[in-house]
């Protein structure tokens, strides 16, 4: 876990996200019907989901490690990653809803992508409820780790597989082309990929900070 104490990737995060605000808001974007300037939301909406996915993958990684070797710090890492993931989840949903308002006409139009995302949110809320329902620390950590690993593939099916099979307005779903195919020209790629990387690192950074705070609290409460 030496990685979380290093500085270079935090500096990189600040540079990448800072540059995203300039390139994302000022660079030339293709003129498209309906989308118009809202296409710039691509630099903010999609990276939120990327950030969520990053911390959730890390969370599953630590849940697996907890099952292999039950150390308290792995459990704290897993739960703090899920908490951060839920936060990015909420922002991803809100930015998506704002985008939907200007392109699809309503904040919530019951699109399969939106519904799936809402259900997947419930899936991880159930994880939090499950944790609260168990008092015994080791038992809680173990059962939560098992549920976390169990829930992750279901979440992937819900958000990334199921909407692709139905009629959805969301790009990349229901026969609609994703942005990458036609619209993402080289100018946009220049702003898009750093944004993806930057926000993923930011999610990881928040998770590590939360992890460190929780670890200190845990050590303070520990009986010597």
């Amino acid at each position: 876990m030496k990685f979380i104490y290093q500085t270079w990737w935090k500096v990189l995060t600040v540079i990448l996200i800072g540059s995203t605000f300039i390139t994302g808001l000022l660079f030339k974007v293709p003129r498209l019907d309906i989308l118009h300037e809202t296409i710039r939301n691509l630099y903010f909406h999609v990276p939120m989901w990327m950030g969520m996915l990053t911390v959730l993958v890390v969370s599953v990684f630590y849940s697996v490690r907890y099952l292999a070797n039950p150390k308290e710090e792995y459990d704290i890492a897993a739960v703090e990653c899920v908490n951060t993931g839920l936060f990015f989840y909420a922002i991803g949903l809100v930015t998506g809803m704002m985008w939907a308002k200007y392109t699809w006409g309503e904040y919530w139009s019951g699109d399969p992508k939106q519904n799936s995302a809402a259900i997947a949110f419930l899936l991880y809320c159930a994880y939090v409820v499950l944790r609260n329902s168990i008092d015994e620390e080791q038992k809680r950590a173990k059962i939560a780790a098992i549920y976390n690993i169990f829930a992750f593939p279901i979440m992937v099916v819900l958000i990334f597989v199921l909407p692709r099979m139905t009629d959805s307005l969301h790009p990349g779903s229901g026969g609609n082309p994703a942005f990458g195919k036609y619209d993402l020209d080289n100018g946009m790629k220049l702003a898009f990929y750093p944004a993806m990387l930057g926000w993923s690192f930011l999610a990881l950074w928040i998770a590590t900070l939360r992890f460190r705070i929780r670890t200190i609290e845990y050590k303070k409460n520990a009986v010597n």
Binding site: L67, I119, A120, A126, L130, I143, I149, L162, M165
Partner: protein, 225 residues
């Protein structure tokens, strides 16, 4: 492990055959739910001729099946006493336990959902365009309910407070399955052949495969106290 699974499966069926408690209680639950729906819908005349009838027919069937499945499968681990789990732990492989329970619940759900479909069609008349495909959807539904709920029931029983947690944990997990099932069975009702809806069948098989694989990997960690 295969031999252990078969022995445990035989034991599950034998226990159920002696008391017939789980089967009868869930069957009664399903019959009373169908009858309540029948009475409630017959309060508004002309419903059977209305345009939305086939859609409501299909959705209602799956909602009844969903709640029946939760009731039937929640029992599988919650009723196991601590002593008996300890006994299994000392003589068998953990994977044999979860596998035998999953297969047993699958068989139970298959019989139950077939009976439900018959009773349901008796009260709510409807023509199925492609009965074979509809039955395939029912078969896949039974298997999926059993694989998902058996593992969730194991988690909920370990967490201590039974059926409330079971509902909270299982519904988000089962929603992708039930959405796919409703689409598949609606296609079957409309008489579309299996080839053109095979993407849903593949998705259901894939979800089952993932859930069984994760259950087999995770259950050995779960039951060790």
């Amino acid at each position: 492990m295969l031999k252990q699974t078969l022995t445990l499966l035989q034991k599950e069926i034998l226990i159920e055959w002696r008391s017939k408690y789980a089967f009868n209680s869930v069957l009664l639950y399903v019959v009373s739910t169908v009858f309540v729906c029948y009475i409630a819908f017959s309060l508004s005349p002309g419903f059977q001729q209305s345009a939305g009838y086939p859609i409501v027919w299909n959705v209602l069937f799956w909602v009844i099946m969903l709640f029946a499945a939760v009731n039937a499968i929640a029992k599988s681990f919650l009723t196991e006493s601590r002593g008996r789990m300890l006994y299994y732990y000392s003589i068998t492989d953990a994977r044999a336990v979860i596998l035998s329970k999953t297969i047993y619940n699958g068989l139970l759900m298959l019989i139950l959902s077939t009976l439900t479909l018959i009773i349901y069609s008796l009260f709510f008349t409807n023509t199925l365009g492609n009965p074979g495909l509809y039955f395939l959807a029912v078969f896949l539904g039974s298997v999926s309910f059993s694989t998902v709920f058996t593992m969730v029931s194991a988690i909920a029983s370990k967490a201590g407070n039974g059926s409330g947690l079971m509902a909270v944990l299982s519904f988000p997990v089962i929603i992708p399955v039930i959405l796919t099932l409703i689409k598949l069975s609606k296609n079957a009702m409309d008489g579309i052949d299996a080839i053109s809806t095979n993407q849903y069948i593949i998705l259901l098989v894939a979800i089952n495969f993932i859930v069984v694989a994760t259950s087999l990997i995770l259950f050995p960690f779960l039951w060790r106290d």
